[in-house]
């Protein structure tokens, strides 16, 4: 892989991995409610 391809890959993978992991972690760690009646 060329250096520019590596830079693109690492930047985009970094952004995607960070946000997908962060939001999923928030979903897992917050109460598992989707219905008002469960409050």
């Amino acid at each position: 892989m060329t250096a520019s391809a590596w830079i693109m890959l690492l930047c985009v993978w970094g952004v995607v991995l960070f946000f997908s992991a962060y939001f999923l972690w928030r979903v897992f760690t917050l109460p598992q409610r989707t219905d008002d009646s469960q409050q």
Partner: protein
Amino acid sequence: MSQSTNRSSLPNDLPGQPTAEHWATRIGLVLAMAGNAIGLGNFIRFPAQAAQNGGGAFLIPYLVAFVLMGIPLLWVEWAIGRYGGMYGHHSAPGMLDKMGRYRWLKYIGVFGIFTNFGIAAWYCYVESWTLAYAWHSFIGTFQGATAATTRPIPPATFFPIYRGEHEASLFALPREALAFFLVTLIVNVYILSKGVSKGIETTAKIGMPLLFLFAIILVITGLSLEPGHGNVKESPWVGLNFIWQPNLDGLRNPTVWLAAAGQIFFTLSVGIGCVQAYASYVGRSQDIALNASSAGWLNEFAEVILGGSLVIPIATAYLGLEAVRASTGSGSGFALGFFTLPELFNNWGWFAPIAGIMWFGLLFIAALTSSLAMGQPILAFFEDEFGVSRKGASLIFGGVTLGLGFFCVWLLPGGAFDEFDFWTGTFALVVFALAEIFIFGWIFGMNRGWDEITRGADIEVPIVFRYIIQYITPLFILVVFVGAMVKPEDGWGEAFASLGDGRGWPFAADSVIGMVTHKGAARHEWFDPRTGYATRILVQDLTRALLLLVFLACAFLVWLAWRRKGRIKA
């Protein structure tokens, strides 16, 4: 990010939530919504689109489109869905009807029924191919395939026979394809009939982890291939380099931007009416901002990281970069995914049938979780507006999809399938997205709209998105819409030069106007004057007439439902 809980703006005329349906868990909802978005396009279309449109540089407009159009549309569709759900509406006509005082709003919602019928017809058929390929991988149809023998049979030879394209007629009926299509429909109808939580959510909770597991195993196996071992010609990392090498010239090309925006539409399943339907089962003061973000980014993980590292690196390893470059030249990775990959798995010895089952299994799960999402708004429409039982509504969905799908299967060689794909899977969803973002920002109003998005939010939504949703996203979609209408044959520069020279605008054959006028067709008659046989033009025009009839039938049902309600109230 701090936790924001704006619960102050609930409408005060709510009838409550008359439905017993709801999501059992939050993670189930996110997985089902991610399953809706993650489809065949993530693993087959995306890598080819990236390779065709500037490699790594494609990812820049792609991510810009995701942030300025994809994420805002997701939030808007979740908000419309949850808002409609408060009034007991779980499909687009009822939801949009509640967003303003205009009577025509509910007819915009017809797209949210029609598009699902139209896409489900051909999508379930493609889904059935993945099931058939998984089955044939299991029984060893493709193992040890050579061009000289008929069985085992190469996947590329198998496919046209399977689809009935070997018959010298536009009207050949492929029996095996029809059988797998029926099995696929029965699976969909059965799961849908079980309900939102027990059917759709359970499928997503089992299917999505399996999908990720299969994809990760295949990615690791593929990237571990070493040149010189077995038939490996080239390092799979050369294939990865092909996808990620940035060609920055592409950033100045409007076609690349349109392709990136189109891919975002395609991959997030926005503009169809499924996201709204799923979101309508979320409680009125429960979070949508975080859930939507999580599902959207999970889809990006599946597409950019897993989808981008699977087909092309493995194909490059065994075939070499030039063959892969030629195969993805059209922007479709279909041939690589369905023909090349199952044959290449034969190099993996005892693991070959397992790899085949994993590959087509993950494609089947991806397709199934998406087709279930297409069924849900249709079921909800008949349940909410006509009082049909869940099982009855499931059968209606199955029956209509079978009818429309049969048309697709039967007349595929004549071009019916491509017509369904274009008008429902490409055109209608952009029209609906444009209409709904306008209704949300300008008729429902951005003040109320912003309250809807942020009410109960478990993340703080940046205020800049209020303005992006109102101004930037509609403009973005409008550009995509106009671009699709007038897409030129070659470059945009050449097209403007042609217009300036008085030679007219050279519409591409796959532009909306090019499609309407059958641009590029050798002949425009319905019947061949020499042989008297029907031509592709006849099949294409018949398909368009059928789709128009389906749209009008959906609009009639909406009219009938509201007339019925008016009588009940009176």
